[in-house]
Symmetry: C2
Subunit: 148 residues, 2 copies
């Protein structure tokens, strides 16, 4: 259905990205990556539960050999990151698949029972993301990522 068999990213929601990022860097024996921003909301154009969203987050990307480990520290506005953090606490938030034609996939997947909960553009406009409502069936949030 998803037409991809490579998980490209594991996302983790945290309260303090600098602190947890440093602990992860120490554990992996690498330098702590820089903190990135989700970027201007005018570019991100996020929607959450069908409504425009101005939620932002801090992000940190560990580029491992075969995939990316992403730490996410959301702001206080409603988002799929903030809601999971508030409801379940810190921990793994999603796994992501790299796809082509994310919007077509979103439509097909919605018809199959996996509607998109939150979507938006990368902060620099170079790609897009879509979180799918997959928790009931697949026990985890699955994200689609597409680079333009």
């Amino acid at each position: 259905m998803i037409n991809s068999d490579a998980i490209c990213q594991i996302g983790v929601v945290v309260h303090d990205i600098e602190k947890t990022g440093q602990l992860f860097a120490d554990f992996l024996g690498v330098e702590r990556p820089e903190v990135a921003s989700s970027g201007p909301v005018e570019i991100a154009k996020a929607t959450y539960k069908g409504e425009p969203s101005n939620a932002t987050c801090k992000m940190m990307f560990f580029e491992l050999q075969n995939l990316q480990l992403e730490l996410i520290q959301p702001d206080e506005q409603p988002s799929i990151w903030r809601d999971v953090l508030d409801e379940k606490g810190e921990g793994i938030h999603h796994i992501a698949f790299q796809v082509k034609g994310a919007k077509a996939h979103m439509q097909t997947l919605a018809e199959k029972g996996y509607p998109t909960t939150m979507s938006g553009n990368y902060g620099d406009g170079s790609g897009m993301y879509a979180y799918l409502d997959t928790v009931g069936d697949l026990k985890m949030i699955i994200e689609l990522l597409e680079s333009f």
Copy 2:
């Protein structure tokens, strides 16, 4: 510290491995893998919280392009799988790194504040696993895997 930068497995605890496994197979567009067993307890020789453990589980392995997605359905005996399932419900349980010299790593990591919670052998004796107490710092359970 861990001397590996490749995540080789994502583990997920579930109540019904056949049902969730079929939904995952449909989502990924692949055949549902066979259900595997954790094997004879005499070979597994598991320990949990410092005590010998006879806990077993059913497992299902999806071999994706760059890593393995593992579904785990534990039995009712105390284990790191059963306890997480009871306390947090179904969802992602751990991420695993493939290492050489797992026992030496376990000792070093314990000295750094990450003791082993549960460990044992593969059911066919071809390797071993060790779950580390990393949730406080790293917000997830990290597992070491070694093939002999």
